[in-house]
């Protein structure tokens, strides 16, 4: 077995990283590719942060682990509403608990859906936790005071401000670009400092961290990062300065990767993986507008219409607040999941509506998320032409050109591995994000549980390291499907908007 370091780069794509490596801006990444194996990494069906990282941490597809979005949609009898998805919604053990039971120790930093923290054998700070809740989010709790005492660590800078986050995913004002990028440079350094502290003061077998500024920057600044696109508009000094800052972010990220790899030492295997990739989008698909035109959804009269070219209206209420529920049979609540829910109709209704939709691919939940928890997913999941996210806003047209080309998630992310027993300088065929977990287990000298949905990518290992029969490890924490409360209290149709209004602060809800 080898100690194993997992560096998560949220939303990383070789489209961007290859250019940066060629320009000499990411020498460490380049060295790791040359010394190891690289491959494209295919994300979950919906290439969205919470499901994808959960798949990587559990080795299971969403239909098995039960996470489909940042939020969990509850189908109450009278109306749908949703709440934050949390670690107790994950129906499969994470790699931390699997190896923890075998006595191996983990460090887990900044992974989503890990709140409330699980009592792993090791240390955990979940991602997506606001600063005022960070202490309660740490496992063990004493870690907070310990980190507070370290001069290099500023705990206030670890989380993102959720309101800022929401704004950046939409449209970032020109004057805010610099501050946003600098904030993420500082923030990655903070996570790196925490990682450094724990790696040097605690025993560990698996150290893992997510650097999610990659995703944040690409959302807000894709057109500055993409070489070709930038050439078409980037003449102004302001545009050049934004691009320079973006490049500086990646340059500094490379330093942090170098720092972690060096600290881990030559005996440690290093894995870099993304949860999903990234790519450009120049159009917006207003899914609820399409559903309305097809007669499946009715807007309230006062539902605002998106200005042309925007995915949203400023200060807009949550989508569900805008529907006339008495005349709505199919609807989309959040852009991230690209999921359409049907209020009636079951499998036949799903199949019928799926045939009408004009996008790259429409998948029923049985196709997209097979598994015991597929009933928790949206009825239909859309794959758009550009792999981006739908807009849930009311609009005058179904498809519009974006005001600015934006960065959107893409299913093809990155995988890099290097270290003892890993082949050198190889590019292998794309892997699935579900193959990363078996690779990590194997690297740690642990058997690969039979119920894992991916496979051990033997092609990344030297032949002598590759083969080991998988032993069965029984699954745990499999709950019965949730019972839906049978009550049907009458209530104002506006009601469901409230929690969403609160959750909008989380950043991924329109």
């Amino acid at each position: 077995m080898s100690r194993t370091l997992l560096l998560g780069l949220d939303g990383a794509t070789f489209t961007v990283l290859d250019a940066l490596m060629e320009q000499g801006l990411m020498p460490t990444l380049r060295r790791l590719c040359e010394a190891g194996v690289r491959a494209g990494l295919q994300s979950t069906v919906t290439p969205l942060t919470p499901l994808a990282w959960t798949s990587l941490l559990t080795g299971r597809s969403p239909g098995h682990h039960g996470i489909f979005d940042f939020v969990r949609v509850e189908q109450l009898a009278y109306h749908p509403h949703f709440r934050l998805a949390t670690s107790s919604d994950i129906r499969c053990p994470t790699i931390y608990s699997l190896i923890g039971e075998r006595g191996l120790r983990s460090l887990s930093l900044n992974f989503p859906v890990m709140f409330p923290p699980q009592p792993i054998n090791g240390f955990m700070i979940p991602g997506f936790v606001p600063h005022r809740h960070l202490k309660r989010a740490m496992h063990p709790r004493s870690l907070y005071d310990r980190l507070s005492a370290i001069p290099e660590v500023s705990l206030k800078e670890l989380p993102v401000d959720f309101e800022d986050e929401r704004r950046s995913v939409q449209v970032l004002a020109p004057e805010r670009h610099e501050e946003w990028i600098r904030f993420h440079i500082r923030r990655e350094r903070q996570w790196s400092n925490v990682l450094h502290h724990l790696m040097t003061t605690e025993p560990w077998d698996l150290a893992s961290v997510v650097f999610d500024g990659v995703d944040k920057l690409q959302h807000a600044c894709w057109r500055f990062i993409d070489d070709g696109l930038f050439a078409t508009f980037g003449a102004s000094p302001w545009a050049r300065s934004v691009r320079e800052l973006c490049l500086d972010y990646f340059r500094q990220l490379d330093e942090l990767i170098a720092r972690a790899v060096e600290l881990a030492g030559p005996e440690t295997r290093v894995f870099l993986a993304s949860d999903h990739g990234f790519g450009p989008s120049d159009e917006i698909f207003y899914v609820n507008t399409w559903l309305a035109q097809q007669g499946h959804l009715a807007w309230k009269d006062d539902a605002p219409v998106a200005p042309e070219g925007y995915i949203n209206t400023e200060g807009m209420k949550a989508a569900a607040f805008l529907f006339d529920w008495s005349r709505t049979r199919a609807y989309t609540l959040t852009p991230g999941s690209n999921g359409i829910y049907l209020r009636t109709g079951g499998a036949a209704g799903r199949a019928q509506l799926a045939r009408q939709i004009v996008v790259r691919r429409v998948m029923t939940r049985e196709e997209a998320f097979p598994g015991p928890h597929s009933h928790l997913a949206a009825d239909l999941t859309l794959v758009l032409r550009d792999f981006g996210f739908v807009s849930v806003t009311r609009s005058e047209a179904i498809v519009r050109t974006r005001r600015d080309v934006a960065g959107v998630h893409n299913p093809r992310g990155i995988f890099i591995a290097a270290g003892p027993g890993i082949r050198r300088g190889e590019t292998v065929n794309d892997l699935s994000i579900l193959d990363v977990t078996p690779a990590l287990m194997h690297s740690l000298g642990e058997p690969v549980p039979q119920e894992f949905d991916g496979r051990l990518p033997v092609e990344i290992f030297e032949p002598a390291h590759a083969v080991r029969p998988a032993a069965a490890v029984p699954a745990r924490r499999i709950h019965a499907p949730d019972e839906v409360p049978a009550e049907a209290a009458a209530m104002a149709a506006e009601g469901e908007a409230t929690v969403m209004q609160r959750l909008r602060a989380l950043g991924y809800l329109e």
Partner: protein
């Protein structure tokens, strides 16, 4: 089964209040609220404890974990006549939980 048992145990308002106070005290321990009194039924989350919307989201998570029930229709608590409440008192949450946890056990 365990979840239902937990919510039955927590059904009287005294226990619910105690549980909620424990959550709130733990949550705001290190916040800069300027609130010096003891949290009680009359305490206002927004006015006394400086709650913002994201804190409400986190409180809902803590409540659902604590009482072993998820998907409670919190919007019933947070909306009034089609508008968001701009304040919320501890006693209102207790009343809401009393009602919702009880209805869950008979479902």
């Amino acid at each position: 089964m365990d979840e239902q048992a937990a919510s039955t145990d927590n059904n009287d308002s005294g226990r619910i209040l105690d549980g909620l106070l424990e959550i709130l005290e733990d949550m705001i321990k290190d916040w800069d609220t300027g609130f010096s009194g003891r949290i009680g039924p009359a305490t206002s989350l927004m006015n006394n404890l400086t709650f913002e919307s994201i804190d409400i989201v986190m409180l809902i998570v803590a409540i659902e974990e604590r009482f072993g029930r998820k998907g409670l229709p919190f919007e019933q608590l947070l909306m009034l006549d089609g508008h968001y409440v701009d304040d919320l008192k501890v006693s209102q949450i207790v009343q809401f939980l009393e009602r919702e946890l009880r209805s869950g056990t008979t479902a």
